[in-house]
Symmetry: C2
Subunit: 230 residues, 2 copies
């Protein structure tokens, strides 16, 4: 399948490598391809520059936001939450229309100190997932994978035999079913995929981040997730 | 120990019965004792009236908010979130000062439809736990037990061998340690009690409710909780 990832940060890279390994055709979208490949600066977490990573992962196609979105049968939003709607507008509503748009981003607000909160207006009674669905009514937005460290997104078996949970929210049931199949390829078992209903379920999945960031501090690791006991 | 519960709803009753069974001296606070005992109306969930329950649970002492708070060595807030600060003001700051004040309440807002959200101003960058600590600076507020159905609060062993989690947040470490001992009496094992730090951790524990209410719908049961996998 042709999978396009909007955003070139750690999350986008982690997914891109994995989808390539699984045999998919992978596109990544960035604002300016030339600039992105010219920069050799490490990111703020000390990760290698994109160009260095890109050379080490041959087969991934770096494109503009627009070209990447045009190519993808499924598009994944892996931009920063505060920039997501703007980046997706550059990708172009017409290139997203009729497609599954997986949103795995959190609208984190670092401006009020650590740990981060959620951006004003994108929490409690609203969510980034809903905001994206409203901005791109032709896209079939599915919120998923946003409640964990990216290493677990593509390798749930890393902890607890893969028996921990991932949520899906979206208005289109068939799209959620297709995303489940893609998640299965990443190692997610159906019994650990919890459907939270329509896209307003993103309010719950995004609220989980407020707990995640505190647990990240309390447990001193990002390699954790939740299991439901009942 | 003398334990005072402010509020006479299902959560308060569940805790009161259990603490009595454990041998504690239990007080419950209400606005008007005479009225509370005179009413025979079932609550909106079809539970028996307080007076009926009270007769069936001899040994519990119903008092005014103020008298109950005065008696307690530990005071528990089990009122509705929107009324908590007002009810605790009636209990009296001087009767709470120097004492552990366990807050297990959620600031649920049902005014915007179901599932509920959190009250404006009491979410994301604030919480009911913090609001109570600010209103009663002399009290040692410990937020705990708010992330689950009350049946599990007093009987964690009901599911998963009791191996699921409960959070504690509060500014005073000694108070959190004392609350942990009380939780141990309810069946909570130390390894399942997660300290989220100071009272701002209540933002995380209260945000968990947004997820809880959706899972309650998706799983069709309230008898569930989270376990950490790592």
């Amino acid at each position: 399948m042709k999978i396009s990832i909007i955003g070139t940060g750690t999350v986008g890279r982690t997914l891109a490598s994995k989808f390539l390994e699984l045999g998919h055709e992978v596109f990544m979208g960035t604002r300016n391809v030339k600039e992105k490949l010219a920069s050799s600066a490490k990111d703020s977490y000390g990760n290698p520059s994109f160009s260095e990573w890109y050379k080490a992962n041959p087969g991934i196609n770096l494109k503009t936001f627009e070209e990447a979105a045009l190519q993808g049968e499924i598009v994944i939003n892996a931009t920063h939450g505060e920039n997501s709607v703007a980046a997706l507008k550059l990708a172009g509503a017409k290139n997203l229309s009729g497609k599954i748009l997986i949103d795995l981003t959190n609208a984190l607000d670092f401006s009020k100190g650590m740990p981060p909160s959620l951006l004003p207006g994108l929490n409690n009674t609203n969510s980034l997932g809903e905001e994206i669905q409203k901005a791109f009514p032709g896209a079939k937005v599915v919120k998923t994978l946003n409640t964990m460290w990216c290493g677990l997104m593509v390798n749930p078996g890393m902890i607890g035999g893969g028996n921990h949970i991932n949520f899906l929210s979206g208005n289109d049931q068939e799209s959620k079913n297709r995303v489940k199949k893609l998640l299965n390829q990443l190692g997610w078992k159906d019994e650990n995929l919890i459907d939270l209903g329509d896209i307003t379920g993103a309010r719950a999945a995004e609220a989980a981040l407020l707990l995640w960031v505190r647990l990240n501090g309390a447990l001193n690791t990002g390699a954790f997730n939740f299991r439901i006991v009942r």
